[in-house]
Amino acid sequence: MSRLSGVFSDLRNKNRKVLIPYVVAGDPSPEGTVALLHSLVDAGADVLEVGVPFSDPMSEGLVIQKAHERALTNGMTLQRVLDMVRAFRRDNETTPIVMMGYANPIERFGYDAFAAASAEAGVDGLITVDLPPEEVSAIDGALESVGLDNIFLISPTTPEARIQTIVERARGFIYYVAVRGVTGSGQLDADEVARSVSVIRQKTTLPIAVGFGIKDATSAAAVAASADAVVVGSALIAEMEQKAQSGVDLEEIQIHGAAVKMLQSIRAGVDSLPS
């Protein structure tokens, strides 16, 4: 059993919703990313989603775009993201890590080489935003051969017949995009999310995570009522950005603290659901 399915089934048995924070590797700094990941686990993260910086992140809203830009300015590369995962694994062998990014850096690295290096570093799954099922064949086999879960997105615009095609290819979990739009945008409609989640559930037993548009404890709790997992990204990064701008001589741990505090509050919101 993969680390991901282990965590999902374990927490399902315990009636605990899976909380997945997203941060961009190398933001605010490459030196601090591993510490930030550990802090997020301490604050209640069950799975970590690590963004791989790309120069043209087309599905990201402004907050995450800027995080990608900062990370690249800080000299991040795909190899360095893998090195961070390896460093994280020295002190944590249990929390699954999913990498989320765009096809081009991976294609440049080489799909087979990337799959092998990811597995060796301790990555558990991959979301490639611009590799829909039509284009995924280049990487799918490579990931499967090293036991990595390839995670697909389903959106509010995905027709039912297509949902079937996607769930047949998917491993690990399904990532449902809650809003029509880029990350951090839009007004979340929890009822619409619940309806879509129930449509997807009829077609798969894979756990369903919901992301995009979750801003705080309230919206996280609303989504967790129907989903197995909640992904929160822009809200955490915006908190860190705001903190970083609030003073000149801040230690990085203080900036991380803003995200940690936000995640703790979201954890409490999600856990307050009646089981």
Binding site: S55, L72, L78, Q79, P105, F109, P132, E134, P159, R180
Partner: protein
């Protein structure tokens, strides 16, 4: 050329997956997949629909002013003293460039889909103006995404778009040019996909855009082929067109692909020189990768990050290129070369002074290469150059480069 590539194959691309060999495809987020599938289904039906084609042809005739002339640049040809240079006068189209051929076609698609809002990306502003124009004519809401840097250097076109009722949105991310305008347009499309039609201005982007933009622009090559046969009794020896995303080039080239005797040259922006890194020539020195929904040649670094480009012409300032060009390069049917900023500027002045035709700076790149080519030819040979746009929009840029205050 690769002997396994038959002329039938050249004319039949893309395949059902939207691939031109290993290039093209649909590398987009899931939210856009169903919009692309719908567009593909509609377009595949309408391209066989006589009434749709007739509506398109009528608009091209009476609104755009087609056919555009094929004009022999006699004084320029005489001055060079080699092959004859024939200019396909797309600069004489309504709005002053080839871009309108495509926006007329896509606006008809938007109308058939019942979309009330259109968006577009633009570099030099010609596609933005052409989109704003068709939106005004059909009463559609129009938003044009344009890099902050391009807004500065193409201020006349920005004002034209505003006069036409479009909202011009300044894009301040990345290099603040065409690449970033396209990313931002795709972000808008993801957000408003239910009511919005995205009018892509070039033969790039996800399938079916490279195919449908090519089809709409192919009127250029069909006319040029017939005009050349009528005027000279023979096909040209060579075709030359500038290549940014590559829509004017593919429009000229595609109807000639099966004419083996016709050589083809796509001219990229060599910027300050290919060896300086400051250029926009992915076919000349780039490597394959994935950007903006398709696999193609890109300017990228070793880590797969897209590089910033440089060209004196905003319309060529793009790190990628249409996937069909990438394929035509690989199979050897088209040769891709580059002209530098300085060469383009010199060609701009020469055509203006010798023929009284002021080309767009994009087009001037094609002229620069055509002049070199003509010099190596004999007087019974001929070159058709796609004079893709007029240069009025570039007057301030040219003045600044020449150190003149207007």
């Amino acid at each position: 050329m690769n002997s396994k590539v038959t002329s039938e194959l050249l004319a039949s691309m893309p395949d059902a997956q939207g691939r031109f060999g290993r290039f093209g495809g649909k590398f987009v987020a899931e939210t856009l997949m169903s919009a692309l599938t719908d567009l593909e289904a509609l377009y595949c039906r309408l391209r066989e629909d006589a009434a749709f084609q007739q509506e398109f042809d009528q608009d091209l005739a009476h609104y755009v002013g087609r056919p555009s002339p094929l004009y022999e640049a006699s004084r320029l040809s005489d001055a060079i003293g080699g092959g004859r240079i024939l200019l396909k006068r797309e600069d004489l189209n309504h709005t002053g460039a080839h871009k309108v051929n495509n926006t007329i076609g896509q606006a008809l698609l938007a109308k058939h889909m019942g979309k009330k809002r259109v968006i577009a990306e633009t570099g030099a502003g010609q596609h933005g103006v052409a989109s704003a124009t068709v939106a005004a004519r059909l009463g559609l809401e129009c938003h044009v995404f344009m890099g902050e840097e391009d807004i500065r250097r193409q201020s006349l076109n920005v004002y034209r778009m505003k006069l036409l009722g479009a909202e011009v949105i300044s894009v301040t991310s990345g290099s603040r040019t065409l690449k970033d305008a396209m990313s931002e347009a795709m972000r808008d499309w993801v957000t408003n996909v239910d009511n919005t039609f995205y009018i892509i201005g070039t033969v790039a982007g996800p399938h079916p855009y490279p195919m449908l933009v090519r089809d709409f622009q192919s009127v250029i090559g069909r006319e040029a082929r017939a005009q050349c046969l009528a005027q000279r009794g023979t096909l040209p020896d060579a075709l030359v067109a500038c290549v940014g995303g590559g829509s004017n080039a593919i429009g000229l080239f595609h109807p000639f692909l099966q004419d083996k005797e016709v050589a083809m040259y796509g001219v990229e922006a060599g910027g300050k020189g290919l060896d300086t890194g400051e250029h926009a020539a992915p076919l000349s020195v780039g490597t394959p990768g994935v950007l903006h929904g398709n696999r193609t040649y890109l300017m990228q670094d070793e880590d797969g990050q897209i590089l910033e480009t440089h060209s004196v012409s905003a319309g060529l300032d793009y790190p990628g290129v249409g996937p069909e060009h990438a394929w035509l390069k690989d199979v050897g049917r088209v040769q891709y070369v580059a002209a530098n900023d300085d060469e383009a500027l010199a060609a701009f002045h020469r055509l203006t002074r010798v023929e009284g035709i002021m080309p767009a700076l994009e087009t001037a790149h094609a002229m620069a290469h055509a002049e070199k080519l003509a010099a190596q030819m004999t007087s019974d040979q001929s070159i058709v150059v796609n004079l893709s746009g007029r240069g009025d929009k570039d007057i301030l840029t040219v003045a600044a480069l020449d150190g003149i205050e207007v």
